[in-house]
């Protein structure tokens, strides 16, 4: 998890009660026929944010983007930009550019003309347009393909053209609908850095849709996790990861072990979780506290678990099990451990040794231990 540049320097306008959001959705509902695509959505996006929308396919991410760009009107509620209601403003009068999920490149224009298209519609001088297009071509490493038509370049190159075209006008707000999905990992990371860089230079506000949560974590100032037209949680990447507000979010972001159990409060901030017959209770902190015993889900990330062949002498929680599977991921390995009571637990550890000399292997009896602050108690 690299800290994003935007979050590095106390950039937290959402915590500042005086800050005025750039974009405001107020109780926005969007229906297609009797299907509700966006359900009573309220959210604020601040200037210079890099706002990531994350969620499963069909949850309404593109619909939000299209409402911002002006291609869909909200059935109910208002969307405002800099305090101004956007409903009457047509798409071509909005200082917003969108990169389409399907790219929507003009097939009869070459790469150069595609990128120049928006600039030519403005009052920019010819030589300035040319300079700007060249700059965009350099940025997206497309110089060699400037004279090709969209059907003569690869999928990833097309995606970069679409990105360059939407960036060219340096809009106040840039909407990127899965901008980097078709790029290989290296180019994707480079482009992510470029995006962050562009944002720092131009002060553009980005709203980005992505299926790649690592990407959301890397670039975003805040992440909104969506489910069926609703935003379930909006928070910084670190908080989304470390303090999800529901099982849904915890499960959606990253790998996690979810153990259902019955929690009993033992102090204001501590609970003990009874999750299976014959297993020791889990002692874990619960900062919000529980008022009464209740069913909960205990969630813990695989990398927070320590796996060992010898029983650890002191740890708040110690469980025993048998290794049933090992997923080797290069730098780390994930061990799938089956507890005597049947639960499967995933534990991750860094591969500090060469694979042949690995201490733990299939069918080994192992111990899993974790501190009392490593996991989370989720009630929803």
């Amino acid at each position: 998890m690299t800290e994003s540049a935007s979050t590095g320097t106390d950039f937290e306008p959402w915590n500042d009660p005086k800050a005025v959001p750039l974009i405001q959705f107020k109780n926005v509902t969007k229906r297609f026929g009797d299907f509700t695509a966006i359900d009573n959505l309220t959210l604020d996006i601040y200037a210079r944010e890099f706002y990531a929308l994350l969620g499963p396919s069909g949850c309404g991410k593109t619909t939000i983007m299209r409402m911002l760009a002006g291609f869909e009107t909200a059935t109910e509620g208002t969307i405002s930009l800099s305090g101004q209601d956007m409903a009457p403003v047509p798409p071509n009068k909005r200082a917003i550019n969108m990169m389409f999920q399907s790219y929507a490149l003009f097939p009869h224009l070459n790469v150069w003309d595609n990128i120049a298209f928006g600039l030519k519609r403005s009052s920019m001088a010819k030589d300035q347009i040319a300079a700007r297009v060249e700059e965009m071509l350099r940025l997206t490493q497309l110089e060699k393909f400037a004279r090709r038509k969209p059907h003569q370049i690869s999928g990833g190159q097309r995606q970069r053209v679409a990105l360059a075209r939407s960036l060219a006008k340096a809009p106040k707000l840039l909407l990127l609908d899965e901008p980097l999905g078709a790029l290989d990992k290296k180019l994707r990371q480079e482009t992510q850095f470029e995006l962050v860089d562009i944002q720092e230079k131009t002060g553009t506000t980005f709203v980005i849709v992505t299926h790649d949560q690592e990407e959301a974590m890397t670039v975003a100032s805040r992440v909104a996790v969506m489910d069926h037209g609703k935003v379930v949680q909006v928070d910084t990447p670190a908080n989304i990861y470390e303090a999800p507000n529901s099982v849904y979010v915890a499960d959606f972001i990253g790998d996690i072990n979810i153990i259902e159990g019955y929690a009993t409060p033992i102090s204001d901030t501590m609970v003990s979780v009874d999750f299976a017959e014959g297993q020791p209770k889990i002692h874990t902190s619960c900062p919000t506290g529980l008022t009464a015993p209740q069913r909960i889900s205990f969630a813990i990330r695989p990398e927070k678990l320590l796996i060992s062949t010898e029983k650890p002498t002191e740890s708040a929680n110690i469980l025993s099990g048998k290794v049933v599977d090992i997923a080797y991921l290069g730098n780390i390995s994930t061990y799938h451990v089956k507890l005597a009571s049947g639960q499967m637990i995933k534990a991750q550890s860094a591969n500090t040794r060469r694979i042949r000399r690995r201490a733990i292997t299939w069918e080994d009896d192992v111990w899993i231990s974790f501190t009392d602050t490593a996991g989370m108690v989720l009630t929803t």
Binding site: A69, G70, F71, P90, P91, N92, I96, N97, M98, F100, S102, A104, L105, F106, P107, H108, F117, G118, R121, S122, K149, H151, R165, K169
Partner: protein, 296 residues
């Protein structure tokens, strides 16, 4: 072997249906008119063997072509046909484009019906439909009666037996040939392209000119050839709707064949017509080829 058979089918088709008739016409155009059946000489007499072929070849000459070049009726007719075909192609385009555009923009469930309506006229005889236009356009026709009744005009318009009637006839007859390719081009256009154009600052109108229109260009070109090529040699429409002053090569051809019974001159007219049409036909093929390549 199988591949060879597959490839040979269209070639066989071409030879039987185009090359052989063309060679026969070419041969007739090199003969002389005669009062005989068939009305030209020489005719090939194979019973005399090799000598017969030589006599036959000896009788062929370019005389009819020189005749066509001398008499300015013919090249005037060619020019006039070119002009009428070009103008009516353009008029057809003007009528067809909004039509095709409307069809492509109609709700999906309506499109098959609209397509059907465009093709429907082909189910009735072409001749009957052109005759119907006589009834509409004549001095006492429906159009004049209607206009007189509404008071828009006080004297009937004279449309029938003028070039205007010919234009109307051609536009009407060939409209589907223009609509269908333009519709096909517009229909496969991705609607998000227009959104992208708007997003980048275009008005609806300029988005049409910068995106929709250029993307339908291939359809317009294809449609124009499909109208221009047959309109050039059109005979029925000028004969039924045109007047004595409507000069079209198709009409001249018909008169040479059936009124003058001068098959050789008529064949020469036809051969030259074909030579003139070969240019647009080749251009049309090129366009289609480019189209296919562009779609990868």
């Amino acid at each position: 072997m199988k591949r060879f058979t597959l490839i040979s089918v269209p070639y066989l088709w071409l030879i039987v249906l185009f090359l052989v008739p063309f060679l026969i016409v070419l041969k007739v155009s090199l003969s002389d008119a005669a009062l005989a059946i068939p009305p030209y000489s020489p005719t090939l007499d194979l019973s005399q063997g090799w000598a017969g072929i030589l006599v036959w070849l000896d009788g062929l000459d370019m005389e009819n072509y020189w005749f066509l070049a001398d008499d300015n009726l013919y090249w005037k007719a060619y020019l006039s046909s070119l002009k009428i075909a070009a103008i009516s192609t353009f008029l057809t385009f003007l009528v067809a484009y909004p039509f095709a555009y409307g069809m492509a923009r109609a709700a999906d469930e309506w499109q098959p019906t609209l397509l059907m309506l465009v093709i429907l006229p082909f189910w009735t005889s072409f001749l009957i439909r052109v005759y119907a236009w006589k009834a509409i356009l004549s001095v006492e026709g429906f159009l004049n009666q209607f206009l007189l009744w509404t008071g828009a005009i006080h004297d009937p318009l004279i449309i029938l037996n003028t070039n205007v009637a010919v234009y109307i006839g051609i536009v009407y007859t060939y409209l589907p040939f223009m609509i269908l390719p333009i519709y096909a081009a517009l229909e496969k256009m991705d609607a998000s392209l227009l959104e992208a154009a708007e997003d980048l600052g275009c008005s609806r109108f300029s988005a049409f000119w910068l995106i929709t229109f250029p993307l339908s260009r291939q359809g317009i070109i294809a449609g124009s050839f499909l109208v221009f090529i047959p309109a050039m040699g059109e005979f029925v429409i000028p004969a039924l709707l045109g007047g004595s002053r409507t000069l079209m090569i198709g009409k001249v051809l018909w008169e040479e064949f059936f009124s003058n019974r001068d098959w050789p001159v008529a064949s020469a007219v036809a051969v030259i017509l074909l030579l003139i049409l070969i240019i647009p036909i080749i251009l049309f093929q090129r366009n289609e080829q480019k189209n296919r390549e562009a779609q990868g």
